[in-house]
């Protein structure tokens, strides 16, 4: 039996990562210089937290909403829940330190600004998003009912 060649793959996609890794290693040595464990935890942790926690959580929530509405015979309503919920959650994700108030004291003393408004404004934006979505859905449902012939009862 002839020895099988090593599964090396083609040379160009091998060369490109090699250059990329060289640069990443050059910068990585400096990135890891101070607190290598902390930085490694953050780098790998960011990928794991996103791929194994955040994404499954929102995907499951989305599937629950879609299936719940489907079971109620209202599959077409999914986007009217998904859009405001996702936008509101996105704003919370990005501005979590300010909205949750975890940096209140530092923020106030550094910038001279009040830190109270962030939670209220996020809630108001969320209310507008959900309210606007509900209004659009109500208008759509009403239009659909009007179009239906009155004999159908």
């Amino acid at each position: 039996m002839r020895p099988r060649p090593l599964p090396l793959g083609s040379p160009l996609p091998l060369l490109l990562p090699a250059c990329s890794f060289a640069l990443a290693a050059y910068a990585g040595v400096r990135l890891f210089a101070d607190d290598w464990l902390g930085v490694a935890l953050w780098l790998v942790g960011a990928a794991l937290l996103h791929d194994l926690v955040l994404l499954p959580l929102y995907a499951l929530a989305d599937r629950a909403v879609a299936r719940g509405l489907d079971a109620a015979g209202r599959r077409a309503w999914t986007m009217y829940v998904r859009v405001p919920a996702a936008l509101s959650a996105l704003l919370l994700l990005v501005w979590f330190p300010l909205i949750s108030g975890t940096v209140d004291r530092r923020y106030r003393s550094a910038t001279g600004l009040s830190a109270d408004g962030f939670l209220v404004r996020w809630l108001l934006i969320s209310a507008v998003l959900f309210g606007g979505s509900a209004l659009l859905l109500a208008l759509r449902v009403r239009r659909a009912t009007k179009r239906r012939p009155p004999a159908v009862h």
Binding site: G9, S10, L16, G38, L41, A46, R82, L90, S109, T111
Partner: protein
């Protein structure tokens, strides 16, 4: 007992069944969304290709804006080696240059978050694909993807936390974000070179949808692929309109509903514009800034030194300039009307008439990375560069640097030293 007549067939059969078991994320059937596919991923990928390139370039530009080569006090990443190959003397024209580049960097970064999340969502089945590595090439590619995904999320997370003053990351922001950017960009370039040609082809083709990302048993659609892209774009737009006002300023600051320096200005009146660090936060002792106690020490050629009270400074020719404060955190103020002594006039007092050199500025601040800052000769020479004593027609307020602060066109905010105690002119 007459069973299992085909023992050799079973292992292969079982293997196929396991790979196709839709309860396992390693099986394509596990992923039910009808949106996934090459076209959808390619559109998002090409948006990120352009956007992240702009982020990287504006980030490098921001590093150059600090003039790190001039003095160690300006350089938060002194071990950069060849990673600082691009550095250049930062200009003072146009005076809004840093306001533009850094506003773009931070606002665009925040705006791209939905695109990044959507892109990662669109390719997540590949994360679970088995076997983990088919060849050495494939193994390297997957390791590179860890740097790409981990590095990208690291850059976005540290940036987003830093602008909210939430310093929970492991170390100082500057080296983490700068070296992290190089690690990320190294993986990004390799990924883009491998995938961009196919992505361009997929978008040009406009034809749906091939590739191993397509679900073999999709659920019924609740939204079209185009609808989903509009959704991602809408999310970006929402982040943009609730953030950009902190950089654009004027009446639009009110529209930055959730950005750290949006919504409102601190207080009113002549000093009612954004503050990076208040006097209290910087640990400024009011006893040191009073008319009796405070003296500006200016040192120049051959150690020539003058000590000036604020009253003596006011006897020197005063000049005005309208300049913004632009912070590395992306926010900026509108042009403020500063009035004070030209830096080059101070240099002339200590023996540098006509040929102002670099300057080393020290604050009364006891702590903080930028209590000392170096200015390059072109910044000192610019007639708009002032040691400001007034802003908008009134004395500087304590939070804006009373008794005196530096203001230089196009310089990052932290180089506009507040509560100045000493200026040393000379080549650095």
């Amino acid at each position: 007992m007459g069973r299992a007549p085909f023992p050799r067939v079973l292992p292969a059969y079982r293997r196929i069944m396991r790979d196709d078991d839709p309860r396992l994320p390693s099986s394509p059937g596990f992923w039910r969304s009808p949106l996934r596919g090459t076209w959808f991923t390619s559109v998002l990928g090409l948006v990120l290709l352009v956007g992240i390139t702009v982020l990287f370039v504006t980030g490098l530009v921001s590093y150059a804006a600090y003039n790190p080569g001039l003095s160690p006090v300006n350089d938060q990443t002194p071990d950069k080696g060849i990673l600082g190959f691009f550095l250049f003397a930062w200009p003072t024209n146009p005076y809004w240059l840093y306001r533009l580049t850094q506003g773009l960097h931070v606002t665009l970064g925040i705006t791209l978050i939905p695109v990044l999340l959507a892109k990662l969502w669109s390719v997540v089945p590949k994360l679970f694909a088995l076997p983990p590595a088919r060849s050495l090439t494939h193994a390297l590619e997957r390791l590179s993807l860890l740097l790409l995904v981990g590095g990208g999320l690291f850059e976005f997370t540290t940036g987003v936390l830093n602008v909210q003053l939430d310093y929970v990351f492991p170390g100082s922001f500057y080296p983490l974000h700068f070296y992290g950017a190089w690690v990320f960009f190294a993986a990004f370039v390799a990924h883009a070179a491998l995938k961009a040609p196919a992505a361009v082809r997929a978008v040009r083709r406009q034809r749906q949808e091939q590739g191993d990302l397509v679900s073999p048993r999709p659920e019924p659609a609740t939204v079209s692929r185009r609808g989903a892209l509009w959704f991602v774009g809408g999310a970006s737009l929402l982040l943009f309109v609730t953030t950009a006002g902190q950089s654009i300023g004027g009446a639009l600051r009110r529209t930055a509903l959730l950005a750290p320096h949006g919504w409102a200005d601190p207080g009113g009146g002549p000093g009612g514009f954004q503050i990076n660090k208040t006097a209290a936060y910087a640990g400024i002792d009011p006893a040191e800034t009073g008319a009796e106690a405070w003296r500006l020490v200016v040192t120049g050629r051959d150690g020539r030194t003058v000590r000036l009270s604020r009253a003596q400074l006011l006897q020197l020719p005063l000049h005005s300039s309208a300049l913004p404060i632009a912070c590395v955190e992306g926010w900026s103020t509108d042009d403020q009307w500063w009035r004070g002594v030209r830096l080059r006039d101070l240099a002339a007092l200590v023996g540098y008439g006509g040929d102002p050199p670099d300057a080393f500025v020290e604050s009364l601040q006891r702590h903080g990375a930028f209590r000392r800052a170096a200015l390059r000769a072109n910044q000192v020479t610019d007639p708009r560069s002032l040691l400001a004593l007034y802003v908008n027609g009134e004395d500087l307020s304590p939070d804006h640097g009373h008794p005196a602060r530096v203001i230089v066109p196009a310089a990052p905010g932290v180089l506009n030293t507040k509560w100045v105690a000493r200026i040393t002119f000379g080549d650095l």
